[in-house]
Symmetry: C2
Subunit: 293 residues, 2 copies
Amino acid sequence: MSEWYFQDKAITGIPVDDRAWLYGDGLFETIAIRDGKPRLLTRHLERLSTGCRRMGIAAPGADGLAESLGAALSNTMLDLEFALARLVVTAGRSPRGYARSGATANVYTGVFSAAPLDPRLYSEGCRVRICSTRLARQPQLAGLKTLNRLEQVLARAEWHSSTVFEGLCFDTEEQLICGTMSNVFIVRGERLMTPDLSQSGVAGVMRRLVLEIAEEGGSIVEITAIGHQVLSAADEVFLCNSQFGVVPVTSIEQPHDDLPTVAGQSGKYLPAGPVTRGLMDSLRQRGYAEITC
Amino acid sequence: MSEWYFQDKAITGIPVDDRAWLYGDGLFETIAIRDGKPRLLTRHLERLSTGCRRMGIAAPGADGLAESLGAALSNTMLDLEFALARLVVTAGRSPRGYARSGATANVYTGVFSAAPLDPRLYSEGCRVRICSTRLARQPQLAGLKTLNRLEQVLARAEWHSSTVFEGLCFDTEEQLICGTMSNVFIVRGERLMTPDLSQSGVAGVMRRLVLEIAEEGGSIVEITAIGHQVLSAADEVFLCNSQFGVVPVTSIEQPHDDLPTVAGQSGKYLPAGPVTRGLMDSLRQRGYAEITC
């Protein structure tokens, strides 16, 4: 179930001249709602504001964005004990054409019912697959969660099995970037590693939090290039996003046999190891109650 | 002035769960309307159908698409003597998430008032600039006119002067690809050249028509890689799109001085030469009455 709001008004449609649907000219955050409150709100608003600045969209400040979200949460009839919100800033309404022509930003908020993951995904880990879709390198948009998400849609369209939890995407230079809806970390010996996102991918707020927790805990953390071989040789692999927190990966599969495969990865199983468990414990201690390892 | 239609019904909004605005999951055509009729309709519908197939969107066939367009043109109150239509196919409405989950395509049609270009652009040529925005290489989407158009928006946001008609975009490997809203051709000696669009860019229907006319006329035509030096050394440069036909380029300017510049191009003026004029004549003979060289 879902409801959408523009300011404090429920809506069923987006104006036909909003650049969001004409060009994907906007950004969004997917924010976990727990016990009625948005989780990691400051981080979400910071990322959204940074994205708007980088894209030249004159969005309201953090207070204004929080107000839009708050109005939706106040007005919704949905149960907010365990839910999520999609906070969208668009470049606004303009005449036809790529030029923004002085359009002023619009803020829309969607509120969605949600449910915790199957607890076994936390305790037993998940299956992922390597997508054959490659992400383009575009440093001007890298890291941002823009409304241009076709690469994720194409990657997600590659599998239908409900037992595959996520797809991992490499870029056109064969560097690991992220999952379709999550960031990815690997553990190798003493080191925690996650892909550099300066060319592609979305820099998630949970990724940031995991990096901070790991650094506070004294781990060696590297934001770096990760190729197929490094992924293959990992001791542990896990995914994270702002909704589910951290989920261990126990199996990485190749795309369909009729697509190009990469040597050395087929059917590899990775244990859900001590570093991943430690980070999951830290998150649970910080109130991520749904993480049940 | 504009009006939007879903089938034969005028609309003011797009459903909040249409994937077009959530992810840019769709494609569009911008079709010139002249004397009430869509121009180059078969080519537009072919490209749209090809795009839907490549993106895995189960769109209506060409007849169904033509019917949607026809319904909008029949119902609109706008003057259709000189107008344009935006025919949009989206992946449809789905629950939240990148998975399309069996969504069925939606077709929307926008009808817009339009006006011919200032005739001096045809007779005297236009000023263009090199954009500093670089286009990413994404062969899975290259050539298609998807709803993910942020790169064009960012490139178009680089200039405000109304005397600059268009911006030329290179890709991340410094290959010329296209204008923000047009395709580009260069003439060098006996050869007509236009960028290869297998990695980036939109393969316009007017580009296709120009290539066919040139080939019929016996020209040597090359679809190839074009770097900065080849552009600099061109004898003639022209732009094309389905709305304005062909416009000669007489001046190519670099981005602002505080951005990286490329040697050898600053302030270069190119004459509107005989090959461009010949193609413009051919188009006028084929009924492109607005082309006034």
